[in-house]
Protein backbone atom coordinates (compact mmCIF):
# COMPACT_ATOMS: atom_id res chain seq x y z
CA UNK A 1 0.00 0.00 0.00
CA UNK A 2 1.46 3.31 -0.99
CA UNK A 3 1.24 6.43 1.07
CA UNK A 4 -1.51 7.79 -1.10
CA UNK A 5 -3.71 4.78 -0.52
CA UNK A 6 -3.34 4.70 3.21
CA UNK A 7 -6.46 5.80 4.98
CA UNK A 8 -6.05 8.92 7.04
CA UNK A 9 -7.31 8.83 10.53
CA UNK A 10 -8.79 11.84 12.20
CA UNK A 11 -6.49 14.69 13.10
CA UNK A 12 -3.67 13.61 10.80
CA UNK A 13 -2.75 16.28 8.26
CA UNK A 14 -3.11 15.44 4.58
CA UNK A 15 -0.07 14.86 2.40
CA UNK A 16 1.53 18.17 1.49
CA UNK A 17 3.51 18.90 -1.62
CA UNK A 18 4.88 21.33 -4.15
CA UNK A 19 3.63 21.78 -7.68
CA UNK A 20 6.27 23.71 -9.59
CA UNK A 21 4.80 25.01 -12.83
CA UNK A 22 7.90 25.90 -14.82
CA UNK A 23 5.84 27.45 -17.62
CA UNK A 24 5.38 30.56 -15.48
CA UNK A 25 8.81 30.60 -13.83
CA UNK A 26 10.59 33.88 -14.58
CA UNK A 27 13.95 32.84 -13.11
CA UNK A 28 13.97 35.50 -10.40
CA UNK A 29 15.53 33.14 -7.81
CA UNK A 30 13.37 34.58 -5.05
CA UNK A 31 12.77 30.96 -4.00
CA UNK A 32 16.50 30.35 -3.64
CA UNK A 33 16.90 33.47 -1.54
CA UNK A 34 13.84 32.87 0.62
CA UNK A 35 14.95 29.30 1.27
CA UNK A 36 18.40 30.41 2.32
CA UNK A 37 17.04 33.14 4.54
CA UNK A 38 14.47 31.04 6.30
CA UNK A 39 16.53 27.90 6.75
CA UNK A 40 19.85 29.69 7.38
CA UNK A 41 21.48 27.70 4.58
CA UNK A 42 25.13 28.75 4.14
CA UNK A 43 26.52 30.39 1.07
CA UNK A 44 27.01 28.01 -1.84
CA UNK A 45 29.39 29.92 -4.06
CA UNK A 46 28.95 33.37 -5.51
CA UNK A 47 30.24 32.71 -9.00
CA UNK A 48 28.19 32.33 -12.11
CA UNK A 49 28.66 28.99 -13.79
CA UNK A 50 29.51 30.79 -17.04
CA UNK A 51 26.87 28.75 -18.81
CA UNK A 52 23.80 30.83 -18.09
CA UNK A 53 22.28 32.93 -15.35
CA UNK A 54 22.44 29.84 -13.18
CA UNK A 55 24.84 30.48 -10.33
CA UNK A 56 24.01 27.59 -8.05
CA UNK A 57 24.58 24.75 -10.50
CA UNK A 58 22.42 22.11 -8.92
CA UNK A 59 20.87 20.94 -5.69
CA UNK A 60 23.17 20.11 -2.81
CA UNK A 61 23.76 20.50 0.89
CA UNK A 62 23.74 24.29 0.61
CA UNK A 63 21.31 24.66 -2.30
CA UNK A 64 17.81 23.45 -1.51
CA UNK A 65 16.10 25.35 -4.30
CA UNK A 66 17.94 25.60 -7.59
CA UNK A 67 16.74 27.64 -10.54
CA UNK A 68 17.82 26.10 -13.81
CA UNK A 69 18.23 28.27 -16.89
CA UNK A 70 18.10 26.61 -20.27
CA UNK A 71 18.63 28.57 -23.44
CA UNK A 72 17.32 26.88 -26.52
CA UNK A 73 17.64 28.12 -30.04
CA UNK A 74 14.40 26.74 -31.23
CA UNK A 75 11.61 28.34 -33.24
CA UNK A 76 9.19 28.39 -30.38
CA UNK A 77 7.57 31.75 -30.59
CA UNK A 78 6.44 33.37 -27.41
CA UNK A 79 5.19 31.57 -24.41
CA UNK A 80 1.77 32.82 -23.60
CA UNK A 81 1.78 32.96 -19.86
CA UNK A 82 -1.80 34.16 -19.60
CA UNK A 83 -3.21 30.84 -20.70
CA UNK A 84 -6.23 29.91 -18.75
CA UNK A 85 -6.55 33.15 -16.86
CA UNK A 86 -10.17 34.05 -16.61
CA UNK A 87 -9.81 37.57 -15.29
CA UNK A 88 -10.66 40.20 -17.87
CA UNK A 89 -8.65 43.37 -18.27
CA UNK A 90 -9.93 46.83 -19.03
CA UNK A 91 -8.43 48.45 -22.11
CA UNK A 92 -7.07 51.84 -21.13
CA UNK A 93 -5.95 52.59 -24.65
CA UNK A 94 -2.28 52.34 -23.69
CA UNK A 95 0.19 50.90 -26.20
CA UNK A 96 0.80 47.33 -25.18
CA UNK A 97 4.06 45.42 -25.47
CA UNK A 98 3.60 42.70 -28.02
CA UNK A 99 5.70 39.59 -28.26
CA UNK A 100 7.90 39.41 -31.35
CA UNK A 101 6.02 37.89 -34.22
CA UNK A 102 2.63 38.43 -32.68
CA UNK A 103 1.49 40.52 -35.64
CA UNK A 104 3.40 38.82 -38.43
CA UNK A 105 3.18 35.15 -37.59
CA UNK A 106 5.65 32.52 -36.41
CA UNK A 107 8.20 33.07 -39.19
CA UNK A 108 9.22 36.44 -37.75
CA UNK A 109 9.63 35.20 -34.22
CA UNK A 110 13.00 34.72 -32.64
CA UNK A 111 14.59 31.32 -32.79
CA UNK A 112 15.07 31.31 -29.07
CA UNK A 113 13.45 30.34 -25.86
CA UNK A 114 14.39 30.27 -22.25
CA UNK A 115 13.28 27.53 -19.99
CA UNK A 116 13.49 28.24 -16.28
CA UNK A 117 12.69 25.81 -13.56
CA UNK A 118 13.04 25.84 -9.80
CA UNK A 119 14.23 22.40 -8.73
CA UNK A 120 13.79 21.06 -5.22
CA UNK A 121 13.81 17.83 -3.22
CA UNK A 122 11.09 15.59 -4.62
CA UNK A 123 9.96 14.19 -1.24
CA UNK A 124 9.43 10.82 -2.94
CA UNK A 125 6.68 8.46 -1.89
CA UNK A 126 9.32 5.71 -1.95
CA UNK A 127 12.37 7.64 -0.83
CA UNK A 128 15.73 5.90 -1.27
CA UNK A 129 17.54 8.33 1.06
CA UNK A 130 15.16 7.45 3.86
CA UNK A 131 15.33 3.73 3.13
CA UNK A 132 19.12 3.53 3.25
CA UNK A 133 19.74 5.88 6.20
CA UNK A 134 21.37 3.62 8.82
CA UNK A 135 20.79 5.89 11.80
CA UNK A 136 17.14 6.76 11.32
CA UNK A 137 18.12 10.42 10.97
CA UNK A 138 15.99 10.67 7.85
CA UNK A 139 12.34 10.22 8.63
CA UNK A 140 8.89 10.79 7.13
CA UNK A 141 6.92 13.55 8.75
CA UNK A 142 3.22 13.75 9.46
CA UNK A 143 2.96 15.75 6.20
CA UNK A 144 4.55 12.81 4.30
CA UNK A 145 7.62 14.86 3.59
CA UNK A 146 11.16 13.53 4.11
CA UNK A 147 13.38 15.36 6.61
CA UNK A 148 16.87 14.87 8.11
CA UNK A 149 17.15 15.08 11.90
CA UNK A 150 20.41 16.96 12.24
CA UNK A 151 20.97 15.84 15.81
CA UNK A 152 21.03 12.20 14.69
CA UNK A 153 22.83 12.30 11.33
CA UNK A 154 26.40 11.05 11.66
CA UNK A 155 27.43 11.95 8.14
CA UNK A 156 27.81 8.45 6.73
CA UNK A 157 26.81 9.87 3.35
CA UNK A 158 24.83 6.81 2.23
CA UNK A 159 21.80 8.91 1.30
CA UNK A 160 23.85 10.91 -1.21
CA UNK A 161 24.45 8.20 -3.85
CA UNK A 162 21.08 6.63 -3.03
CA UNK A 163 19.09 9.66 -4.24
CA UNK A 164 18.23 9.14 -7.92
CA UNK A 165 17.79 12.91 -8.39
CA UNK A 166 21.05 14.17 -6.89
CA UNK A 167 19.31 16.22 -4.21
CA UNK A 168 20.79 15.48 -0.79
CA UNK A 169 24.48 16.03 -0.10
CA UNK A 170 27.04 16.24 2.68
CA UNK A 171 27.89 19.75 3.83
CA UNK A 172 31.57 20.61 3.72
CA UNK A 173 32.98 21.38 7.11
CA UNK A 174 29.81 20.26 8.83
CA UNK A 175 29.92 16.64 7.76
CA UNK A 176 26.21 15.96 7.95
CA UNK A 177 23.69 15.48 5.13
CA UNK A 178 21.33 18.35 4.33
CA UNK A 179 18.41 18.91 2.01
CA UNK A 180 15.06 20.63 1.67
CA UNK A 181 12.75 20.06 4.64
CA UNK A 182 9.76 21.61 2.87
CA UNK A 183 10.10 24.10 5.72
CA UNK A 184 8.96 21.54 8.28
CA UNK A 185 8.94 24.23 10.97
CA UNK A 186 6.64 26.48 8.93
CA UNK A 187 4.32 23.62 8.00
CA UNK A 188 3.84 22.81 11.66
CA UNK A 189 2.68 26.38 12.21
CA UNK A 190 0.24 26.17 9.31
CA UNK A 191 2.39 28.35 7.06
CA UNK A 192 3.48 27.63 3.52
CA UNK A 193 7.17 26.97 2.77
CA UNK A 194 9.38 30.01 2.25
CA UNK A 195 10.01 29.36 -1.45
CA UNK A 196 6.32 29.08 -2.29
CA UNK A 197 5.59 32.15 -0.21
CA UNK A 198 8.21 34.16 -2.07
CA UNK A 199 7.40 33.01 -5.60
CA UNK A 200 5.99 36.05 -7.40
CA UNK A 201 4.33 34.14 -10.23
CA UNK A 202 2.98 31.20 -8.27
CA UNK A 203 5.25 28.95 -10.28
CA UNK A 204 5.82 27.23 -6.94
CA UNK A 205 2.53 26.17 -5.47
CA UNK A 206 2.22 24.51 -2.09
CA UNK A 207 -0.75 22.65 -0.73
CA UNK A 208 -2.51 19.33 -0.36
CA UNK A 209 -1.00 16.96 -2.89
CA UNK A 210 -4.40 15.75 -4.08
CA UNK A 211 -5.48 19.25 -4.89
CA UNK A 212 -2.16 20.17 -6.51
CA UNK A 213 -2.42 17.14 -8.78
CA UNK A 214 -5.87 18.18 -9.93
CA UNK A 215 -4.66 21.71 -10.51
CA UNK A 216 -1.66 20.44 -12.47
CA UNK A 217 -3.81 18.15 -14.62
CA UNK A 218 -6.03 21.07 -15.56
CA UNK A 219 -3.05 23.32 -16.23
CA UNK A 220 -1.25 20.88 -18.51
CA UNK A 221 -4.47 20.21 -20.40
CA UNK A 222 -4.94 23.91 -21.01
CA UNK A 223 -1.36 24.31 -22.19
CA UNK A 224 -1.78 21.37 -24.55
CA UNK A 225 -4.94 22.86 -25.94
CA UNK A 226 -3.13 26.15 -26.46
CA UNK A 227 -0.63 24.35 -28.67
CA UNK A 228 2.21 23.90 -26.21
CA UNK A 229 2.27 20.19 -26.79
CA UNK A 230 5.63 19.72 -25.08
CA UNK A 231 4.07 20.48 -21.69
CA UNK A 232 4.17 17.45 -19.45
CA UNK A 233 3.98 16.61 -15.78
CA UNK A 234 7.00 15.09 -14.05
CA UNK A 235 6.63 13.15 -10.82
CA UNK A 236 2.84 13.30 -10.96
CA UNK A 237 2.32 9.61 -11.68
CA UNK A 238 1.83 7.62 -8.43
CA UNK A 239 2.92 4.49 -10.29
CA UNK A 240 6.33 5.69 -11.47
CA UNK A 241 9.69 4.42 -10.22
CA UNK A 242 9.43 6.29 -6.92
CA UNK A 243 5.64 5.85 -6.60
CA UNK A 244 5.12 9.52 -7.32
CA UNK A 245 6.75 12.52 -5.73
CA UNK A 246 5.51 14.99 -3.17
CA UNK A 247 7.11 17.77 -5.20
CA UNK A 248 6.23 17.46 -8.87
CA UNK A 249 6.73 19.65 -11.91
CA UNK A 250 5.20 20.88 -15.11
CA UNK A 251 8.01 20.85 -17.67
CA UNK A 252 8.19 22.17 -21.22
CA UNK A 253 10.87 19.77 -22.40
CA UNK A 254 12.25 16.37 -21.55
CA UNK A 255 13.29 16.05 -17.90
CA UNK A 256 16.98 15.46 -18.65
CA UNK A 257 17.16 18.90 -20.27
CA UNK A 258 16.47 20.30 -16.81
CA UNK A 259 19.02 17.95 -15.23
CA UNK A 260 16.33 15.57 -13.99
CA UNK A 261 16.49 11.81 -14.53
CA UNK A 262 13.92 10.75 -17.16
CA UNK A 263 12.85 7.55 -15.39
CA UNK A 264 14.16 7.44 -11.83
CA UNK A 265 13.63 4.27 -9.84
CA UNK A 266 14.07 3.97 -6.08
CA UNK A 267 17.12 1.75 -5.68
CA UNK A 268 15.61 -0.22 -2.79
CA UNK A 269 13.03 -1.65 -5.19
CA UNK A 270 15.69 -4.24 -6.04
CA UNK A 271 16.97 -4.66 -2.49
CA UNK A 272 15.18 -7.94 -1.79
CA UNK A 273 16.83 -9.41 -4.85
CA UNK A 274 20.17 -7.96 -3.75
CA UNK A 275 19.88 -9.65 -0.36
CA UNK A 276 18.97 -12.94 -2.02
CA UNK A 277 22.00 -12.78 -4.31
CA UNK A 278 24.24 -11.82 -1.40
CA UNK A 279 22.84 -14.70 0.66
CA UNK A 280 23.64 -17.17 -2.08
CA UNK A 281 27.11 -15.68 -2.42
CA UNK A 282 27.75 -15.94 1.33
CA UNK A 283 26.61 -19.57 1.31
CA UNK A 284 28.85 -20.22 -1.68
CA UNK A 285 31.80 -18.75 0.21
CA UNK A 286 31.18 -21.01 3.20
CA UNK A 287 30.71 -24.05 0.98
CA UNK A 288 33.83 -23.22 -0.98
CA UNK A 289 35.90 -22.87 2.17
CA UNK A 290 34.55 -26.17 3.49
CA UNK A 291 35.42 -27.86 0.21
CA UNK A 292 38.92 -26.41 0.34
CA UNK A 293 39.46 -28.41 3.53
CA UNK A 294 37.84 -31.58 2.21
CA UNK A 295 39.76 -34.67 1.26
CA UNK A 296 43.19 -35.89 2.22
CA UNK A 297 44.92 -34.02 5.03
CA UNK A 298 48.17 -32.44 4.26
Amino acid sequence: MTLDEQPRTGGEPSRKGFFTDTSVCIGCKACEVACKEWNAVPEDGLDFTAMSYDNSGGLGADTWRHVAFIEQRQPLGGQETGVGRTTTTVDLGMPLPRPPGADTGPEERGEFRWLMSSDVCKHCTSAACLDVCPTGALFRTEFDTVVVQQDICNGCGYCVPACPYGVIDKREGDGRAWKCTMCYDRLGAGMEPACAKACPTDSIQYGDLDELRQRADARVERLQEAGITSARLYGRDPHDGVDGTGAFFLLLDEPEVYGLPPDPVVTTRDLASMWRHAGVAAAALLAGVALAFAGRRR
Binding site: V132, G157, G175, H277, G288, V289, A292, R298
Partner: protein, 352 residues
Protein backbone atom coordinates in the same frame (compact mmCIF):
# COMPACT_ATOMS: atom_id res chain seq x y z
CA UNK B 1 21.79 21.60 -23.21
CA UNK B 2 20.47 21.73 -26.69
CA UNK B 3 22.07 24.79 -28.14
CA UNK B 4 24.81 25.45 -30.60
CA UNK B 5 27.45 28.13 -30.39
CA UNK B 6 29.62 29.88 -32.90
CA UNK B 7 33.24 29.57 -31.90
CA UNK B 8 36.57 30.24 -33.59
CA UNK B 9 36.48 26.64 -34.75
CA UNK B 10 33.06 26.84 -36.27
CA UNK B 11 29.69 25.88 -34.92
CA UNK B 12 29.82 23.52 -31.99
CA UNK B 13 27.10 21.66 -30.23
CA UNK B 14 24.63 21.89 -33.09
CA UNK B 15 22.07 19.19 -32.70
CA UNK B 16 20.75 17.41 -35.74
CA UNK B 17 17.25 18.31 -34.71
CA UNK B 18 17.66 21.98 -34.02
CA UNK B 19 15.06 22.92 -36.57
CA UNK B 20 12.46 20.70 -35.04
CA UNK B 21 9.32 22.30 -33.80
CA UNK B 22 9.27 22.60 -30.08
CA UNK B 23 6.61 20.58 -28.48
CA UNK B 24 6.21 18.22 -31.40
CA UNK B 25 7.79 15.43 -29.42
CA UNK B 26 5.60 12.79 -28.02
CA UNK B 27 7.33 10.15 -26.04
CA UNK B 28 7.15 6.76 -27.59
CA UNK B 29 6.81 7.85 -31.17
CA UNK B 30 10.39 7.46 -32.14
CA UNK B 31 11.67 4.87 -34.50
CA UNK B 32 12.90 2.38 -32.04
CA UNK B 33 11.71 -1.13 -31.96
CA UNK B 34 10.65 -2.89 -28.88
CA UNK B 35 13.37 -5.04 -27.41
CA UNK B 36 16.10 -3.28 -29.30
CA UNK B 37 19.23 -3.40 -27.20
CA UNK B 38 20.96 -0.10 -26.80
CA UNK B 39 24.43 -1.51 -27.31
CA UNK B 40 25.71 1.57 -29.10
CA UNK B 41 24.00 4.42 -27.33
CA UNK B 42 22.87 7.64 -28.91
CA UNK B 43 25.68 10.12 -29.24
CA UNK B 44 23.09 12.75 -28.44
CA UNK B 45 21.33 12.77 -25.15
CA UNK B 46 19.74 15.54 -23.20
CA UNK B 47 21.45 16.92 -20.16
CA UNK B 48 21.70 20.13 -18.22
CA UNK B 49 24.96 21.58 -19.53
CA UNK B 50 26.50 18.12 -19.23
CA UNK B 51 26.24 18.31 -15.46
CA UNK B 52 25.72 15.03 -13.61
CA UNK B 53 22.20 14.09 -12.55
CA UNK B 54 23.46 12.41 -9.38
CA UNK B 55 25.41 13.99 -6.60
CA UNK B 56 28.86 12.47 -6.31
CA UNK B 57 29.48 9.67 -3.85
CA UNK B 58 30.89 11.49 -0.81
CA UNK B 59 32.97 8.57 0.43
CA UNK B 60 36.76 8.80 0.44
CA UNK B 61 38.17 6.19 -1.91
CA UNK B 62 40.91 5.12 0.50
CA UNK B 63 38.38 4.64 3.31
CA UNK B 64 35.52 2.89 1.56
CA UNK B 65 37.28 1.00 -1.23
CA UNK B 66 39.84 0.10 1.43
CA UNK B 67 37.01 -1.09 3.65
CA UNK B 68 35.52 -3.21 0.86
CA UNK B 69 38.90 -4.93 0.54
CA UNK B 70 39.63 -5.29 4.25
CA UNK B 71 36.11 -6.42 5.12
CA UNK B 72 36.27 -9.12 2.46
CA UNK B 73 39.73 -10.18 3.54
CA UNK B 74 38.63 -10.42 7.17
CA UNK B 75 35.42 -12.30 6.44
CA UNK B 76 36.95 -14.96 4.22
CA UNK B 77 39.99 -15.26 6.53
CA UNK B 78 37.66 -16.20 9.35
CA UNK B 79 36.24 -18.95 7.16
CA UNK B 80 39.70 -20.32 6.45
CA UNK B 81 40.61 -19.95 10.12
CA UNK B 82 37.67 -22.09 11.15
CA UNK B 83 38.49 -24.72 8.55
CA UNK B 84 42.12 -24.83 9.65
CA UNK B 85 41.13 -24.86 13.31
CA UNK B 86 38.77 -27.79 12.90
CA UNK B 87 41.04 -29.83 10.64
CA UNK B 88 44.12 -29.29 12.77
CA UNK B 89 46.29 -26.89 10.84
CA UNK B 90 47.36 -24.64 13.70
CA UNK B 91 49.80 -22.40 11.83
CA UNK B 92 47.25 -21.61 9.12
CA UNK B 93 44.53 -21.14 11.73
CA UNK B 94 46.61 -18.66 13.73
CA UNK B 95 47.66 -16.74 10.62
CA UNK B 96 44.09 -16.49 9.40
CA UNK B 97 42.68 -15.44 12.78
CA UNK B 98 45.26 -12.70 13.10
CA UNK B 99 44.64 -11.58 9.52
CA UNK B 100 40.92 -11.41 10.21
CA UNK B 101 41.39 -9.40 13.39
CA UNK B 102 43.83 -6.98 11.79
CA UNK B 103 41.67 -6.51 8.69
CA UNK B 104 38.42 -5.99 10.58
CA UNK B 105 40.11 -3.54 12.93
CA UNK B 106 41.37 -1.60 9.93
CA UNK B 107 37.87 -1.74 8.45
CA UNK B 108 36.27 -0.18 11.48
CA UNK B 109 38.89 2.56 11.61
CA UNK B 110 38.30 3.34 7.92
CA UNK B 111 34.53 3.38 8.36
CA UNK B 112 34.58 5.66 11.39
CA UNK B 113 37.14 7.90 9.71
CA UNK B 114 34.87 8.34 6.71
CA UNK B 115 31.94 9.59 8.79
CA UNK B 116 31.17 13.27 8.64
CA UNK B 117 30.68 13.13 12.41
CA UNK B 118 32.99 10.33 13.64
CA UNK B 119 32.02 10.98 17.26
CA UNK B 120 28.50 9.88 16.39
CA UNK B 121 29.51 6.46 15.04
CA UNK B 122 27.42 4.71 17.72
CA UNK B 123 24.31 6.18 16.06
CA UNK B 124 24.81 3.34 13.56
CA UNK B 125 23.42 1.03 16.25
CA UNK B 126 20.51 3.31 17.09
CA UNK B 127 18.11 1.37 14.85
CA UNK B 128 18.11 -1.85 12.85
CA UNK B 129 16.88 -1.32 9.29
CA UNK B 130 16.85 -4.18 6.78
CA UNK B 131 16.21 -1.57 4.07
CA UNK B 132 19.64 -0.11 4.77
CA UNK B 133 22.56 -2.42 3.97
CA UNK B 134 24.73 -0.05 6.01
CA UNK B 135 22.56 -0.60 9.07
CA UNK B 136 22.64 -4.36 8.55
CA UNK B 137 26.39 -4.15 8.04
CA UNK B 138 26.89 -2.14 11.20
CA UNK B 139 25.15 -4.83 13.23
CA UNK B 140 27.09 -7.54 11.40
CA UNK B 141 30.35 -5.81 12.23
CA UNK B 142 29.25 -5.27 15.82
CA UNK B 143 28.69 -9.01 16.11
CA UNK B 144 31.52 -10.25 13.96
CA UNK B 145 34.31 -7.96 15.16
CA UNK B 146 34.34 -9.17 18.78
CA UNK B 147 34.07 -12.79 17.61
CA UNK B 148 37.07 -12.40 15.34
CA UNK B 149 38.91 -10.70 18.19
CA UNK B 150 38.02 -13.43 20.69
CA UNK B 151 39.10 -16.13 18.25
CA UNK B 152 42.47 -14.50 17.70
CA UNK B 153 43.13 -13.72 21.36
CA UNK B 154 42.17 -17.19 22.50
CA UNK B 155 44.44 -18.67 19.86
CA UNK B 156 47.38 -16.48 20.82
CA UNK B 157 47.05 -16.83 24.57
CA UNK B 158 45.64 -20.33 24.77
CA UNK B 159 42.99 -19.07 27.17
CA UNK B 160 39.45 -20.44 27.11
CA UNK B 161 40.05 -22.87 24.24
CA UNK B 162 36.41 -23.98 24.03
CA UNK B 163 35.14 -20.46 23.86
CA UNK B 164 37.86 -19.79 21.32
CA UNK B 165 36.63 -22.63 19.13
CA UNK B 166 33.07 -21.41 19.40
CA UNK B 167 34.15 -17.87 18.52
CA UNK B 168 36.18 -19.20 15.58
CA UNK B 169 33.20 -21.08 14.17
CA UNK B 170 30.78 -18.22 14.77
CA UNK B 171 33.23 -15.79 13.19
CA UNK B 172 33.31 -17.98 10.07
CA UNK B 173 29.54 -17.59 9.68
CA UNK B 174 29.62 -13.88 10.46
CA UNK B 175 32.62 -13.43 8.21
CA UNK B 176 30.79 -14.85 5.20
CA UNK B 177 28.00 -12.36 5.79
CA UNK B 178 30.49 -9.51 6.18
CA UNK B 179 32.23 -10.48 2.94
CA UNK B 180 28.96 -10.69 0.99
CA UNK B 181 26.92 -7.78 2.38
CA UNK B 182 29.28 -5.14 1.00
CA UNK B 183 27.86 -5.87 -2.45
CA UNK B 184 24.32 -4.76 -1.53
CA UNK B 185 25.97 -1.93 0.38
CA UNK B 186 27.24 -0.29 -2.79
CA UNK B 187 24.62 -1.69 -5.19
CA UNK B 188 21.73 -0.24 -3.18
CA UNK B 189 22.41 3.19 -4.62
CA UNK B 190 21.45 5.07 -7.76
CA UNK B 191 25.05 4.80 -9.01
CA UNK B 192 24.68 3.06 -12.39
CA UNK B 193 27.94 1.08 -12.39
CA UNK B 194 27.06 -0.33 -8.98
CA UNK B 195 23.31 -0.74 -9.05
CA UNK B 196 23.20 -2.33 -12.49
CA UNK B 197 25.61 -5.04 -11.35
CA UNK B 198 23.72 -6.03 -8.23
CA UNK B 199 23.16 -9.62 -9.34
CA UNK B 200 26.82 -10.41 -9.90
CA UNK B 201 28.50 -8.06 -7.44
CA UNK B 202 28.12 -10.37 -4.40
CA UNK B 203 29.91 -13.12 -6.29
CA UNK B 204 32.64 -10.74 -7.43
CA UNK B 205 33.09 -9.69 -3.82
CA UNK B 206 33.10 -13.11 -2.15
CA UNK B 207 35.38 -14.40 -4.91
CA UNK B 208 37.69 -11.47 -4.36
CA UNK B 209 37.50 -12.04 -0.60
CA UNK B 210 38.40 -15.72 -0.90
CA UNK B 211 41.28 -14.90 -3.25
CA UNK B 212 42.61 -12.31 -0.80
CA UNK B 213 42.26 -14.54 2.26
CA UNK B 214 43.76 -17.50 0.44
CA UNK B 215 46.58 -15.24 -0.69
CA UNK B 216 47.16 -14.11 2.88
CA UNK B 217 47.26 -17.76 3.96
CA UNK B 218 49.83 -18.58 1.28
CA UNK B 219 51.85 -15.61 2.38
CA UNK B 220 51.75 -16.32 6.10
CA UNK B 221 51.40 -20.07 6.63
CA UNK B 222 53.98 -22.77 5.92
CA UNK B 223 53.42 -24.61 2.65
CA UNK B 224 52.65 -27.86 4.42
CA UNK B 225 49.48 -26.36 5.88
CA UNK B 226 48.56 -24.01 3.07
CA UNK B 227 46.97 -26.40 0.59
CA UNK B 228 43.46 -25.33 1.57
CA UNK B 229 44.45 -21.68 1.37
CA UNK B 230 45.70 -22.27 -2.16
CA UNK B 231 42.49 -24.05 -3.11
CA UNK B 232 40.37 -21.25 -1.66
CA UNK B 233 42.51 -18.63 -3.37
CA UNK B 234 42.27 -20.26 -6.78
CA UNK B 235 38.56 -20.94 -6.49
CA UNK B 236 38.01 -17.36 -5.35
CA UNK B 237 40.06 -15.97 -8.20
CA UNK B 238 38.10 -18.01 -10.72
CA UNK B 239 34.75 -16.98 -9.23
CA UNK B 240 35.77 -13.33 -9.12
CA UNK B 241 37.00 -13.30 -12.70
CA UNK B 242 33.94 -15.09 -14.09
CA UNK B 243 31.49 -13.00 -12.10
CA UNK B 244 33.20 -9.80 -13.21
CA UNK B 245 33.05 -10.92 -16.82
CA UNK B 246 29.37 -11.72 -16.54
CA UNK B 247 28.62 -8.50 -14.69
CA UNK B 248 30.27 -6.36 -17.32
CA UNK B 249 28.57 -8.27 -20.11
CA UNK B 250 25.12 -7.85 -18.60
CA UNK B 251 25.39 -4.38 -17.25
CA UNK B 252 24.72 -2.34 -20.36
CA UNK B 253 26.08 1.14 -20.87
CA UNK B 254 27.59 1.63 -17.42
CA UNK B 255 29.97 -1.28 -18.10
CA UNK B 256 32.02 1.26 -20.04
CA UNK B 257 33.17 2.77 -16.78
CA UNK B 258 34.97 -0.46 -15.93
CA UNK B 259 37.07 -0.10 -19.08
CA UNK B 260 37.98 3.55 -18.97
CA UNK B 261 40.23 5.86 -17.05
CA UNK B 262 41.45 5.05 -13.58
CA UNK B 263 38.81 2.37 -13.05
CA UNK B 264 39.85 0.72 -16.30
CA UNK B 265 43.50 0.66 -15.27
CA UNK B 266 42.65 -0.72 -11.84
CA UNK B 267 40.41 -3.44 -13.25
CA UNK B 268 43.08 -4.42 -15.75
CA UNK B 269 45.68 -4.58 -12.98
CA UNK B 270 43.24 -6.59 -10.86
CA UNK B 271 42.72 -9.18 -13.58
CA UNK B 272 46.44 -9.44 -14.31
CA UNK B 273 47.41 -9.82 -10.65
CA UNK B 274 44.60 -12.23 -9.85
CA UNK B 275 45.28 -14.47 -12.84
CA UNK B 276 49.03 -14.37 -12.17
CA UNK B 277 48.55 -15.11 -8.49
CA UNK B 278 46.16 -17.98 -9.14
CA UNK B 279 48.44 -19.45 -11.80
CA UNK B 280 51.39 -19.18 -9.43
CA UNK B 281 49.39 -20.83 -6.69
CA UNK B 282 48.45 -23.76 -8.91
CA UNK B 283 51.85 -24.33 -10.49
CA UNK B 284 54.34 -23.35 -7.80
CA UNK B 285 52.34 -22.80 -4.61
CA UNK B 286 53.15 -26.26 -3.27
CA UNK B 287 56.79 -26.32 -4.34
CA UNK B 288 58.46 -23.04 -3.55
CA UNK B 289 57.89 -21.01 -0.40
CA UNK B 290 58.95 -17.86 -2.22
CA UNK B 291 56.64 -18.50 -5.16
CA UNK B 292 53.78 -19.18 -2.75
CA UNK B 293 54.42 -15.91 -0.93
CA UNK B 294 54.68 -13.96 -4.18
CA UNK B 295 51.50 -15.54 -5.54
CA UNK B 296 49.74 -14.76 -2.28
CA UNK B 297 50.84 -11.15 -2.43
CA UNK B 298 49.68 -10.89 -6.04
CA UNK B 299 46.27 -12.26 -5.07
CA UNK B 300 45.97 -9.77 -2.21
CA UNK B 301 46.96 -6.91 -4.49
CA UNK B 302 44.56 -8.14 -7.18
CA UNK B 303 41.69 -8.20 -4.71
CA UNK B 304 42.50 -4.68 -3.56
CA UNK B 305 42.64 -3.48 -7.19
CA UNK B 306 39.23 -5.05 -7.85
CA UNK B 307 37.67 -3.16 -4.94
CA UNK B 308 39.30 0.14 -5.84
CA UNK B 309 38.40 -0.40 -9.50
CA UNK B 310 34.75 -1.08 -8.69
CA UNK B 311 34.71 2.00 -6.48
CA UNK B 312 36.22 4.19 -9.20
CA UNK B 313 33.85 2.84 -11.85
CA UNK B 314 30.98 3.85 -9.59
CA UNK B 315 32.18 7.39 -9.07
CA UNK B 316 32.90 7.72 -12.80
CA UNK B 317 29.39 6.56 -13.65
CA UNK B 318 27.90 9.03 -11.19
CA UNK B 319 29.93 11.89 -12.64
CA UNK B 320 28.65 11.51 -16.21
CA UNK B 321 24.95 12.14 -16.88
CA UNK B 322 25.16 9.77 -19.85
CA UNK B 323 25.09 6.71 -17.63
CA UNK B 324 21.99 7.96 -15.87
CA UNK B 325 20.04 9.44 -18.76
CA UNK B 326 20.67 7.11 -21.70
CA UNK B 327 19.61 3.82 -20.05
CA UNK B 328 16.58 5.47 -18.45
CA UNK B 329 15.58 7.02 -21.76
CA UNK B 330 15.99 3.64 -23.46
CA UNK B 331 13.79 2.10 -20.77
CA UNK B 332 11.09 4.70 -21.40
CA UNK B 333 11.32 4.17 -25.12
CA UNK B 334 11.01 0.43 -24.76
CA UNK B 335 7.96 0.91 -22.58
CA UNK B 336 6.43 3.48 -24.93
CA UNK B 337 7.35 1.34 -27.91
CA UNK B 338 4.95 -1.25 -26.64
CA UNK B 339 2.20 1.32 -26.90
CA UNK B 340 3.34 2.89 -30.16
CA UNK B 341 3.39 -0.46 -31.92
CA UNK B 342 -0.33 -0.54 -31.57
CA UNK B 343 -0.80 3.02 -32.82
CA UNK B 344 -0.14 4.67 -36.14
CA UNK B 345 3.36 4.49 -37.65
CA UNK B 346 5.90 6.51 -35.72
CA UNK B 347 6.61 9.91 -37.17
CA UNK B 348 10.15 11.11 -37.42
CA UNK B 349 9.83 14.55 -35.93
CA UNK B 350 11.95 14.91 -32.88
CA UNK B 351 12.05 18.15 -31.01
CA UNK B 352 13.31 19.38 -27.73
Amino acid sequence: MSTSDVTKDGITGARPDRDALTGATRPGRRRRRRGEQLMVPDAEFGSYYGKPVLNQVPWAESDIAGYLFLGGLAGASSGLAAGAHVTGRPALATAMKLTALAAISGSVVALVHDLGRPARFVNMLRVFKPTSPMSVGSWLLAGYGPLAGAAAISDLTGLLPRAGTAATLAAALGGAAVAAYTAPLICDTAVPAWHDGYREMPFVFVGSAAAAAGGAGMLAAPMAQALSARRAAVAGAVLETLALYRMRARMGLAAQTYDRGRAGRLMKAATTLTVAGATGAVLLGGRSRLAAALSGAALLAGSACTRFGVFCAGTASAADPKYTVVPQRARLRARAGDLADREEPADTVRGN
